[in-house]
């Protein structure tokens, strides 16, 4: 095993193309667990911490570009937190302060867990994923990027470079259910936006299907929306909770989130 630490995005992409077996590592909050417990032994690690193009965020004519290396702690800071409030609320629920300081949005996308906390808030803002390779850059709607539990559309020579999103300005919130009051994997989670401008309700659930799922309706469907979201989810029974509970909790969460965001 080897570790390579490119200093530019271009160098990173060349390394990635030359050896697809290199596992990209950002904050390490998922990758290191697999290494520590002998679950994965990649040929090498592609350390992206030193790639400046992946850092920070910028705004250009209403389009927000967030680097893949942005940490949850940075997501919680203003003014970004005011622009993507549900994402900021989600960031507060991620693991612990230690994890929030180290874990990144790019890593959350790469892991593509059904429980990934940043995914529902990005879905309700209809975010795109920016994928880079030596072949060029493409963007893919987040919905199309997430393929299944821990499966995404990243090609073997690509890296997640960032996220592009046009913040809707809609009132929104994020909620996460876990049996402990801190440091939990979501049993079920929900991000919800009430978009007055587009007269649209958007909800995205986590841990209630193979991938986080987006459900939309018109604002006129407020009454039936909790049921609609619960029906759209495809939860399973696992050690963290039952399918029946997850569906029930989603219904409750959607009702409360609508109340929160309606005004």
């Amino acid at each position: 095993m080897e570790v390579v630490s490119p200093r530019t995005l271009e160098e990173a992409l060349r390394l990635r193309a030359a050896e697809p077996g290199l596992m990209p590592i950002e904050g390490g909050t998922d990758v290191m667990v697999d290494l520590n417990f002998d679950r994965r032994r990649p040929v090498g690690l592609l350390n992206l911490n030193e790639v400046p193009e992946l850092r920070g965020w910028s705004r250009d004519d209403g389009l927000l570009r967030i680097g893949a290396s942005l940490t949850y702690a940075q997501v919680r800071q203003r003014p970004l937190a005011d622009t993507l409030p549900a994402l900021a609320e989600a960031a507060r629920t991620v693991g612990s302060p230690q994890i929030q300081n180290r874990g990144t949005l790019g890593g959350n996308l790469g892991t593509a867990s059904p429980a990934g906390d940043s995914l529902p808030p990005l879905l309700i803002e209809r975010a795109d994923v920016e994928l880079a390779s030596v072949r060029g850059v493409r963007t893919l709607a987040l919905e199309r990027f997430l393929l299944g539990p821990k499966r995404n559309a990243l090609a073997a020579d690509e890296l997640i470079a960032g996220i592009r999103v046009r913040p809707s300005g809609a009132r929104q919130t994020f909620m996460k259910v876990g049996p402990r009051n801190a440091m939990v994997i979501a049993v079920v989670s929900l991000a919800l936006a009430v978009d007055r401008e587009r007269e649209e309700l958007r909800a995205a659930y986590g841990s209630a299907g193979p991938v986080p799922g987006l459900v939309t309706a018109s604002t006129g469907e407020r009454e039936t929306f909790p049921e609609l979201v619960a029906a759209a989810a495809e939860p399973i029974d696992d050690l963290r909770g039952t399918a029946a509970y997850r569906r029930h909790a989603l219904r409750v969460l959607v009702g409360r989130a609508l109340e929160r965001c309606w005004a």
Binding site: S5, T29, Q98, R102
Partner: protein
């Protein structure tokens, strides 16, 4: 592979296997076992260290990722004039029982008070929510944080 690390202000070198975490290298290669290994997956905070001033779990940092960055461990907190105020407060408040979580909590508390010298009980709880303690039920740890904040 050989890596160079800046730990507690000292430049140190170690030959490591590429998959080793910063925690393993600190403990087993550099003779700094103060950071504790209790879960190796970022769920307990026992290995909390500062990386460029940020609080992180050393078990989740690839050792090679720490090259070129400043690492501060519990061993680096005490100054020439003696214990760090957080260390003294933990000892006095009875915040230590088995002590396995203590180094991580001491680092976390020092980091908290650096940013927020007078935290409320809620702020203390949230800041410490990533550090598990199995012995104390946390009350005396909160006392220690308040004691340290007052000194």
């Amino acid at each position: 592979m050989r890596i160079e690390l800046d730990v507690n202000g000292e430049q140190l070198e170690a030959d490591v296997w590429a998959g080793e975490s910063l925690l393993y290298v600190l403990r087993e290669r550099l003779g700094l076992p103060g950071s504790k290994n209790a879960c190796e997956q970022g769920e307990c905070g026992s290995c909390s260290v500062l990386l460029d001033g940020e609080l992180v779990c050393a078990c989740l940092v690839l050792a090679a990722q720490a090259e070129g960055h400043e690492v501060v461990t519990v061993e680096g907190l005490a100054g020439a004039e003696g214990l760090h105020p957080v260390q003294a407060a933990f000892a006095r408040a009875g915040a230590v029982q088995c002590g396995f979580c203590t180094p991580g909590l001491v680092v976390t508390t020092a980091h908290l008070l650096e940013r927020n010298p007078d935290p409320s009980e809620d702020e203390i709880r949230e800041a410490l929510s990533g550090n598990l303690c199995r012995c104390t039920g946390y009350a005396k740890i909160f006392d220690a944080v308040k004691l340290a904040a007052g000194t």
